[in-house]
Symmetry: C2
Subunit: 316 residues, 2 copies
């Protein structure tokens, strides 16, 4: 079972140059959840002057929390954002900490040391909450495969940062290819190195972009390392507005097709997901959507793993 974490309502829309209506976001989140997506990063609690696209995050969180069985995640760059998120009752905090100091300063205006302290403060905040109201803290190591401003980011920097983040109180760490610099060899090497350093149970996911077309090949390499959570964005919407040239998350529907074709269950109804994409395309006219499966259609005789297993008379 592989978990797809849909990041489109956060990472996808933040790169659009027009504000997306809250109603559109609600329809999108509800429809993806109905198609079987079990985790959605719905927005971020940030400075809305810098990212006005995110100003309706509280309302969207409130809506998403009403959807049974959905894990509601939000991005928070600091303690202040985490306070808002915890008060809103989210299930998961996604905290970006950039391996590149230059990107860290551009993205969240903080150094590594400051971000480590921020994570420590967020941990204290969470631990102060009553049981049942403590979101998990997933720290994404951004620019973990290279930076458009600094270029090469050494593997040892990523590993050392992951160790410090776990020590500071992260529930788990993930690696983010913010800039689309990763290749499958680098994924294997860095994921394995971090697994060794912090324990395989403390790194379950990656956040990949498709900037140079390698997104699904990189996802395959991550799967082979044993990772079980993959971020993706419906129609490949997305990118980081503060890392020039970094556009396009991996495409949720193409990723789901790859996984299900390989026999990895996702619990997502792929035809239904393709319908959600169509509705989103209609809701966001003029926004480029990426991906191939929606246009090409599913192969003849295509059966998701659950059906294939039940056809074969084995347990799903």
């Amino acid at each position: 079972m592989i978990t797809i974490s849909e990041v489109g309502p956060r990472d996808g829309v933040q790169s659009l140059d027009f504000l997306v209506d809250l109603d559109i976001k609600k329809r999108w989140v509800a429809a993806e959840a109905a198609a079987g997506v079990r985790e959605i990063e719905v927005g971020s609690f940030v400075n809305y002057k810098r990212l006005p696209q995110m100003q309706d995050t509280a309302a969207l969180v409130d809506f998403a929390l009403g959807i049974p069985g959905l894990c509601v995640a939000v991005l928070v760059p600091n303690l202040r954002g985490a306070q808002t998120a915890v008060a809103a009752g989210v299930h998961k905090l996604s905290v970006p900490v950039s391996a590149s100091e230059t990107h860290s300063r551009n993205n969240v205006n903080r150094t590594h040391d400051q971000m480590i302290e921020e994570v420590r403060a967020i941990r204290a905040l969470v631990d102060d909450q009553p049981e049942g109201a403590r979101p998990s803290i997933e720290v994404g190591v951004a620019t973990a495969f290279g930076c458009t401003m600094e270029g090469h980011v050494p593997e040892r920097t990523v590993v050392a940062l992951a160790e410090r983040l776990m020590e500071a109180g992260a529930s788990e760490v993930g690696l983010s290819d913010t800039t689309g610099y990763a290749d499958p060899g680098m994924i294997r090497s860095r994921v394995t190195a971090v697994q060794r350093a912090v324990g395989a149970g403390n790194i379950t996911g990656v956040h990949l972009h498709n900037t140079r077309g390698l997104g699904l090949a990189n996802a395959l390499a991550a799967l082979e390392c044993g990772l079980t959570t993959l971020d993706a964005s419906l129609g490949g919407l997305g990118g980081c507005p503060f890392a020039p040239g970094a556009s396009g998350n991996i495409v949720t529907e193409d990723l789901v097709f790859m996984l299900e074709a390989m026999g990895h269950a996702t619990d997502i109804d792929l035809p239904a997901l393709i319908e959600v994409r169509k509705a989103l395309a209609a809701d966001l006219p003029g926004s480029p959507l990426y991906g191939f499966v929606a246009d090409a259609g599913l192969p003849l005789d295509f059966a998701p793993p659950s059906e294939a297993a039940s056809l074969a008379g084995t347990q799903a």
Copy 2:
């Protein structure tokens, strides 16, 4: 060292709805060869009433044979095409034999048994030539991962066909994802099965399409099986006009980026290749080109394996 076999001048242009000038094809072939591409499938000797796009193949072969160090391949569907190709002096014959009988009849109007006999006759023809004038016979098992008309194609059908083709005189067999149905798991399973059946030395390549976005992930799986030749098309031009919905080869420049980033030398100058793509785009206005690296650019500090090795003080 991985060999990229550029199939754009054959597989790419045959799906266009206008005739590409011979001069454009010559510029394209010469420029790709100059960028370091060592094998190009320049056309096919077929019924030109059915595929008028290929009617200048003899002239293009003649031109390409003048490029030092370039392996000149052509597709031939039968003995008659092979006779023309041998007379023209090509280095490699690419013979498509479809694992799906339905596709075989649509594509080359012949059954499996008839195609096996065709390969046997082509072998006899080649063996009749003087030494030094005998092209290799590479048989591509088309629809090896599924068929848009038949659906599922059993693995045992593909393996049995590969064995019969080797017995009939193929120099080697390859597997072609004509329809874009392959996934990385299927690539591994079928390539490994064919390697076991005919010997790993007799299957070195795959021909992949990117119809459902899995092209580079599938290429990665093929690499992991030890394959060393990958077909690709500049800008992802291509598809099979007789298999509905089967569009888009994997993108040469994105594939080269993946390989070089992973440390697999290709001997191709990637910035030069991207310039060739730009020239091709200008030569074919209105034709959709695919791929990401050309737009995104190479990562900062990107070094091809030869340079990376020499920077590290090791042998390239």
